[in-house]
């Protein structure tokens, strides 16, 4: 049989198609012109032209997070690649599978400071799961296939493939995708039976158990969320989720006690602190979750299920580490649990729930909406009530700041893959392009980007992309005229000296929308809010809704940095203890 000969660009596209890719987010330039030429000559891949390469990566992240598929990015050499760095770092921190194809100067010019040359593999080494510089067309197909394997298996992450222009133009053979395996990379999916049995024994013996689940459950696939739900039901334990885990367990379930961490609920953080057994499922004990480490859940035994061995015992020493894919591990765990007819002692569990419910009674998410000044929390509660009534799928993305925390606290996610936010890196400018990417993947769905006015401006050039592809994205700006989260920290930790956090010279968002041919809406009084939200939801094209909210509102509850879970501030009248604010000052 003769092998298929084609040029490098065609090899790249064929590999993408062979891996089920249908959309690529990109921006052209000199070094990738051969790929753009190949794109022009085919119709299996759709190219989405963004307005800045950073937007392409976030769009691909939204696409990936909402579908479970790999998000693909195509950018040129030099500035194209460097613009992608923030998105790559974001994807690394949140374990999002991304393939980023970067153009590179021809191999004979590498190292000569050629026009638009950057050491892309050098720059992206610490912000990718892996990267490649393809020096010969003979390696190209293999590298493409390997890259998909690396990006989507194990703990997912971004992979950069740097493609010199001469390699893209050279003729070479196409190697089929089933011919590729990586000797040195074999993520462990199933955990040893012994660790599963040990876990069951520990759970059976627990009196105050808690299940703490994170983004790893979402990454493991929808089945993992189903299994998590079965597991929570079978044990009867309370379940809390991280910011990245929202949707992994139904928010309206009685056993759900809200989000954990810095702005988590009182009951979730208190239960984490006082439990006697913590079962961490695809969560990584990030500092936003643990608060002060030496006071983190001092009396508990800990089980940690994670596909990444380096996550285990990184921040918190655990009693039992289980390395494996969440779905595989939970499936095995459920089998052993059922076979041994295991149960947590009913009396103990009842007493524990009694305690948890007492904490719940504090109603730590309460807020007061009086008068005409709109409370952002209230806006989100109303949005939830309105979208509850719809038969459509609803996807939410956020930017970074107070609005992000309020969205996490007040919106309810019943299913995985419907909540897209920048957790690990906290990247302002993520939400707008991410919403665009989600809408590309789900053309019929209602996609709402909850934004802050400051974050919105970080990637607002992507409005043009939204307009070009007629994407009916709704951008809901909770406009508090401040970098609200910065303002909050300045108020709480820097004597209310609001240094450079006021948003001067904002555009007229309604006119801005109109200039892109979109609908622009505004509400600044409570009496206008419901009507505006309804109009935003029902409009069948893109909308920017400028909702002017109380500029002084802060996010509560809050574990100030440097404090422990049981030292939460529940509202504006609580003050952080002096010693904690001193040590907390240096933390972010």
């Amino acid at each position: 049989m003769t092998k298929e000969q084609m040029n490098g660009s065609e090899i790249v596209l064929k590999a993408l198609v062979d891996h089920g890719v249908t959309e690529v987010f990109g921006y052209p330039g000199g070094a990738v012109l051969p790929i753009y030429d190949a794109i022009f000559k085919q119709n299996r891949l759709r190219h989405i032209l963004v307005r800045q390469e950073g937007g392409a990566v976030h769009a691909a992240e939204g696409y990936a997070r909402s579908t479970g598929k790999v998000g693909v990015v195509l950018v040129t050499s030099g500035p194209g690649a460097t613009n992608a760095v923030t998105g790559l770092t974001d994807a690394l921190m949140d374990s999002i599978p991304i393939i980023c194809l970067t153009g590179q100067v021809p191999t004979h010019l590498i190292g000569n400071d050629a026009f638009q040359e950057a050491d892309t593999t050098g720059i992206t080494r610490p912000c990718t799961k892996h990267n490649y510089l393809v020096r010969s067309v003979d390696d190209l197909a293999r590298v493409m296939h390997e890259a998909f394997l690396v990006a989507e298996s194990g703990r997912p992450g971004p992979v950069v493939i740097d493609l010199p222009k001469d390699v893209l133009m050279a003729m070479g053979d196409y190697l089929p995708k089933n011919k590729v395996a990586l000797k040195s990379y074999k993520p462990q999916l199933k955990a040893p039976t012994k660790t599963i049995k040990d876990a069951v024994a520990m759970i059976k013996a627990a009196k105050r158990p808690i299940i703490y689940a994170g983004g790893g459950v979402i990454n493991s696939g929808p089945k993992a969320s189903q299994l998590l739900t079965q597991f929570v039901k079978a044990t009867g334990a309370p379940c809390t989720l991280t910011l990245m885990g929202l949707g992994a367990f139904p928010a309206t379930d009685k056993q759900y006690i809200g989000m954990v961490g810095m702005h988590g609920t009182y009951e979730a953080n208190m239960a984490m602190h006082d439990c006697d057994l913590m079962i961490a499922v695809g969560a990584r004990f990030d500092d936003r979750i643990t608060g002060r480490l030496d006071a983190f859940s001092p009396g508990s035994k800990k089980i940690h299920i994670d596909i990444d061995p380096s996550s285990i015992n990184k921040n918190v020493a655990v009693d039992l580490g289980i390395v494996g894919d969440v779905a595989h591990v939970l499936e095995d765990l459920m089998k052993v649990w059922k076979a041994s007819q295991a149960k947590i002692e009913a009396k103990a569990l009842k007493a524990w729930w009694g305690q948890v419910n007492k904490w719940r009674e504090k109603d730590s998410l309460k807020y007061v909406q009086t008068g005409q000044v709109i409370k952002p929390q209230h806006a989100l509660c109303r949005l939830q009530e309105m979208t509850d009534k719809l038969k459509r799928e609803v996807y939410i993305t956020t930017e970074v700041g107070q609005h992000q925390m309020w969205a996490a606290q007040y919106l309810a996610f019943e299913k995985p893959n419907h909540w897209m936010t920048s957790g690990g890196l906290g990247t302002m400018g993520y939400g707008l392009p991410a919403a665009l990417g989600v809408q590309i993947a789900h053309p019929k769905a209602l996609v709402i980007g909850v934004a802050g006015e400051a974050s919105f401006m970080m990637n607002m050039q992507e409005l043009s992309t939204i307009a070009q592809y007629r994407l009916p994205v709704k951008i809901l700006i909770l406009n508090n005229f401040y970098m609200g989260m910065v303002r909050q920290w300045q108020e709480l930790m820097h004597g209310s000296r609001y240094s450079e956090s006021y948003m001067e010279s904002l555009p007229d968002f309604v006119k801005l929308a109109e200039s892109f041919g979109m609908k622009g809406l505004r509400a600044s009084k409570l009496s206008e809010m419901d009507g505006m939200l309804e109009e935003m939801i029902s409009h069948d094209g893109p909308v920017i809704a400028d909702l002017n909210v109380d500029p002084k509102e802060n996010v509560f509850p809050m574990i100030p940095s440097g404090a422990a879970h049981n030292e939460m501030l529940l509202g504006p009248d609580d003050k952080a203890s002096e010693s904690n604010s001193q040590t907390g000052m240096v933390l972010v």
Partner: protein
Amino acid sequence: MTSETTQTNQHTIAVLVDNEPGVLARVIGLFSGRGYNIESLTVAETRRGRHLSRITIVTSGTPMVIEQIKAQLSRLIPIHEVSDLTMEGPYVERELALVKVKGAGEKRVESLRIADIFRARAVDSTNETFVFEIVGTSNKIDAFVDLMKPLGLIDISRTGVVAISRGTESLEGDD
């Protein structure tokens, strides 16, 4: 925390990697990016044509940090094996140094005498200088260097530690 969990210990770690461009940068970047110590690092291809290199790293940290270092190394895609020789049983560890000493008269003679005791060889000599080659543990080389200081030591080049387990264990496996 107990002193056992906070105490810092030195570990010798052997790592088998694909011999490809950038692999050393990945390892070094991992150590600098995460703030781990490197006390010494050596690397070379082991058998020509197999495209495998062996890196020997001497590092130090608390048990939790050492566990992290190994887990983080294992996560790098081109890394095949990570072996903590210090933990995994008896091993042999050697370093080679070239030590240049400049002197005359009694000092010159004394340096030769000490070299003899340490089984160091003179691999170059001029009227004023010797270059000694010494092989041994890092401690032995440190001791030799200390003794040479007052005798006119002017230059040292050390390889860093290479190490291998005793007995039948193998990192590479046979071909």
